[in-house]
């Protein structure tokens, strides 16, 4: 064996000897480290942010200018109604990437490494979520900025907008748990996408994100009126324009809590379970 790429014996001397292992990392520290990993991934694969940025820009432009005149008289009037809803829709759509990323890690064998390390076994899930919440924030900022450029004037001021974003992120965080479960149950990242879109399409379009409830026939109004996304869109709109109804906000918080309480334990159990 004589290849120059071989590490020389000198260089590895002692390196491979048992160092005393440090005390295992705390749960907080391992979650932080895995969140750092999520940030690095964004840095190295900025394309990940592409769909987070392009989709909302596209939706806002298309809907504002194509439907704006017909739905609200002028595009400028429509965007006051639409933009808080586009924020909701975008964040809901990109929560799917949480499940896809997790599924990719499982398929690539990376989770085998994580699971064989002496750390808190929930860390990879929480670390990934932390990274995702960051991406949701980037997307939210972009949408708001673009809205402002197009003539969106939130009457609720900065505080109203921030509260709306915080509420939408809370719901997005909760929803991510569902896709984590899906991500652990299906075989490929593509199936995570297909499975979740079957749910997401009706959830977002059968809501009042784009049009007001009053324009719908009675039977549809009954369905759409009970969609949690409708509550979220109402709350987001209300907070941004300074006329939020407490009931909308409370219902969104209850829905988020319910989703987390049910799906997080299932997700963590599935994660710890052997595959």
């Amino acid at each position: 064996m004589s290849t120059d790429a071989l590490p020389s014996v000198d260089r590895t001397h002692g390196l491979l000897k048992g160092h005393p292992r440090p005390r295992p990392a705390s749960a907080l520290s391992s979650v932080a480290t895995l969140a750092w990993r999520a940030m690095l991934k964004i840095k190295h694969v900025p394309f990940q942010l592409f769909d987070v940025t392009v989709m909302p820009i596209m939706f806002t432009l298309l809907f504002t200018y194509i439907f704006g005149g017909a739905l609200a008289g002028t595009p400028r009037e429509y965007i006051q109604y639409l933009l808080p809803g586009v924020l909701v829709q975008t964040i809901i759509f990109i929560t799917v990437y949480t499940g896809m990323g997790l599924n990719t890690d499982i398929n690539k064998g990376l989770y085998d490494r994580f699971r064989s390390l002496p750390m808190w076994q929930g860390s990879p899930v929480f670390g990934a979520l932390a990274g995702d919440v960051f991406r949701y924030s980037v997307a939210s900022t972009l949408i708001i900025v673009m809205g402002l450029i197009l003539g969106f004037r939130p009457e609720g001021g900065v505080l109203g907008v921030l509260l709306a974003v915080a509420l939408v992120l809370t719901f997005g965080f909760a929803l991510s748990w569902l896709w984590i479960i899906v991500g652990m149950l299906v075989k490929t990242p593509e199936s995570v996408m297909t499975t979740s879109f079957v749910l997401l399409m009706p959830l977002t379009f059968a809501s009042n994100i784009f049009v007001d409830l009053s324009t719908m026939p009675d039977w549809l109004r009954a369905i759409v009126g009970h969609n949690p996304v409708t509550y979220l869109a109402n709350a987001s709109r209300g907070l941004m324009h300074g006329r939020a109804q407490a009931s909308d906000v409370v219902w969104v918080l209850i829905a988020s809590a319910a989703i987390v309480l049910v799906s997080a334990p299932i997700a963590l159990r599935l994660y710890r379970k052997e595959r």
Partner: protein, 325 residues
């Protein structure tokens, strides 16, 4: 405690398939041990149970005296696993991957970076340290993967098919690494489909097939179990093989060893003198012999004799073991 790994009657089923059907192993501390078998034999399942990724259905397994089910966390503190696929994040650079693992093991940021630098240098990856792993060659990926398993030197290292898919040069590099890791006192359990690999690295090995250990011992033991002497012939023409086998049977009575190579014929000899008779018979039968040798049987022949099938079925990467992950 003399054994690093001990398993007793390990059983694991996936649906109707019995992946492990009562596996007993005893692996001495500080040794390199080979788990040898074709795809789907149960090698990966064994390693996954020992590294706490799976629970056995029945039987017990201890690693360094700790039960892999009840004391999984203690086991994880002392072992490292390098799976069949590079278990590193391909989007991250080599350096970032090592820092990541070091941090997760409890190193401080400063210690983590220092350890990463050391390992990158030792594995000759310094130049590639700041490149994403997705740009690495197969050999470099394997090296960064093994390096990640050595961030904290484990007392037991599991290597699941460490050289599958590597070119001969990269394979040599991995072999050299395994020897060096073992020389520093780490117990290594490696699985392989390559008999050659087990022969070169492992002190002792278990041949596993259909979830059972069908033979165990040193490579010398295994070879001896098939008979001490064997005659190996390479024919110039593959179409003469049947005739050659017939002539050999006529001289030796019995003792043909199975072989997968269509130009090769091998036979067990009672004593080396019989080789002369066989060669004479072949010459009289106008069989064109390109090469011949007398020696101990190869591990390939051992495997064929033990299992009745070739040791390296199409070295597919889609074996049943993967399907049952």
């Amino acid at each position: 405690m003399t054994h690093a790994i001990e398993t007793h009657a390990l059983v694991k089923s996936f649906g109707a398939t019995r992946a492990l059907d009562g596996v007993d192993l005893r692996i001495r501390r500080g040794s390199v041990y080979g788990l040898l078998g074709p795809n789907g034999a149960g090698k990966t399942t064994t390693v996954r149970i020992l590294s706490t990724l799976r629970k056995p259905d029945a039987g017990t397994a201890t690693v360094l005296g700790h039960d892999v089910v009840r004391e999984a966390k203690l086991v994880r503190q002392k072992v490292s696993l390098t799976g069949q696929y590079a278990s590193v994040d391909e989007d991250l650079t080599g350096q970032e991957n090592l820092v990541l693992v070091a941090r997760l093991l409890g190193f401080s940021w400063t210690q983590a970076r220092a350890r990463a630098t050391e390992l990158l240098e030792a594995f000759d990856l310094t130049d590639a340290a700041r490149r994403q792993v997705s740009t690495y060659s197969g050999g470099m990926r394997r090296r960064i993967d093994i390096a990640a398993s050595l961030v904290a030197i484990p007392e037991v290292l599991f290597l699941d098919e460490p050289t599958t898919g590597l070119d001969p040069r990269a394979r040599n590099e991995v072999w050299d690494l395994v020897r060096r890791i073992a020389a520093e006192g780490t117990t290594v359990l490696l699985t392989t489909q390559y008999l050659d690999e087990a022969d070169r690295l492992a002190e002792r090995m278990a041949v596993i097939d259909h979830g059972r250990v069908i033979a165990e011992g040193t490579s010398r033991d295994l070879k001896a179990s098939v008979g001490s002497n064997a005659l190996h012939l390479r024919l110039a023409r593959a179409d003469q093989r049947a005739l050659a086998q017939e002539l050999i049977t006529r001289v030796l009575g019995d003792g043909l060893l199975p072989s997968t190579d269509p130009t090769e014929v091998a036979a067990r000899l009672g004593d080396t003198g019989q080789a002369v008779e066989v060669l004479g018979a072949l010459a009289a039968g106008r069989i064109d012999v390109a090469e011949f040798s007398v020696g101990t049987p190869s591990l390939d022949e051992v495997f064929l004799a033990l299992t009745g099938k070739p040791a390296e079925p199409v070295a597919s990467t889609n074996g049943t073991e993967k399907a049952t992950r």
